[in-house]
């Protein structure tokens, strides 16, 4: 019920954005490229999050093994990590594409 409503809202707003921005014919290729860019960004986000969690767990287990200091693995269960991972993914995406684009 809630999920269906939110999906409907997203669909309507996406169609509105498309209607306002697709002003000429032949834009299909650009939309395809946009879809691919979205998939690439989502993949980078997932990758960044996995790397962050793995690094976090490795550091925590190393500290536990090397010292008497105890850090709970649950400190990684924080939504800010997912948000920061998205920012990392954005930086990675931007750097990758700015490197591919020839300088003017």
């Amino acid at each position: 019920m809630y999920a269906g409503f939110i999906v409907a809202v997203l669909a309507v707003s996406s169609v509105l954005v498309w209607a306002f921005t697709a002003r000429r014919r032949g834009d299909e290729a650009r939309w395809r490229a946009t879809g691919l860019a979205l998939c690439e960004f989502a993949g980078l986000w997932a990758l960044a999050l996995i790397v962050d969690v793995v690094v976090g767990v490795a550091v925590i287990l190393s500290v536990r093994a090397a010292t008497s200091f105890f850090i709970s693995v649950y400190v990684l269960n924080d939504v800010s990590l997912a948000i920061a991972s998205a920012l990392q993914a954005f930086v990675l995406y931007w750097r990758r594409h700015s490197a591919l684009t020839p300088a003017a």
């Binding site: 019920m1 809630y2 999920a3 939110i6 999906v7 969690v53 767990v57 105890f70 709970s72 693995v73 649950y74 269960n77």
Partner: protein, 186 residues
């Protein structure tokens, strides 16, 4: 994932059903600790109240509460114990463990604390997702745990945000299960 029932279905398949039978003790595992104002976290409060409810239903004569101190906050086990006494559980029926920091340590120390009292069969109050791992750890420690999940949200939460939270909880528990297996704890 947030817009499909996949997290609910996976959670339902992964969680253990409640097995509420008479036992020697009700063991309430730590969860979330104590907040800065000295009150229990939401998850900890929910588990504690469920443990008290099981005690008042007469399922066991002993209520064993777990939870270490974190930072400057008082020990979660002590705050839980105070709450249980305020609600009417006799102090003599409460056992507190405040040194265990992981589920594995909780299993070992609860076993050390309960077995001298002749208690082997325990009702294990834990989240539905964590019941599988906790039950195995308590079995390995020499106790006979009966899962008593404090909350089963698999069929309740159908909002996208709730499903994301459920997926996150499942991911954490699957990761913990994999780590415990790799480390030889299970």
């Amino acid at each position: 994932m947030a817009y499909t029932p996949v997290p609910n279905l996976v959670d339902r398949a992964f969680s253990l059903p409640a097995q509420l039978e008479p036992a020697g003790a009700i063991v309430v595992l730590a969860a979330g600790g104590v907040r800065g104002d000295g009150t229990l976290s939401n998850t900890s409060l929910r588990r504690t109240l469920y443990g008290i409810d099981l005690y008042r239903r007469g399922l066991a004569p002993v209520l064993a509460l777990s939870g270490p101190p974190r930072g400057r906050a008082p020990a979660e086990g002590d705050v839980r114990s105070a709450l249980a006494r305020e609600i009417g559980v006799p102090a003599g029926a409460i056992l507190v463990e405040t040194t265990a920091r992981t589920t594995r340590e909780e299993a070992e120390r609860m076993s050390t604390m309960l077995r001298p009292h002749g208690i082997r069969r325990v009702l294990l109050v834990v989240d539905a997702e964590g019941a599988r791992r906790a039950t195995r750890l308590f079995q390995r420690s020499g106790l006979e745990p009966l899962p008593a999940p404090a909350e089963d949200v698999s069929g309740l939460d159908d909002s996208p945000e709730g499903r994301l939270d459920l997926a996150r909880r499942l991911a954490i528990e699957l990761f913990a299960l994999a780590y415990y297996r790799a480390a030889g704890y299970l």
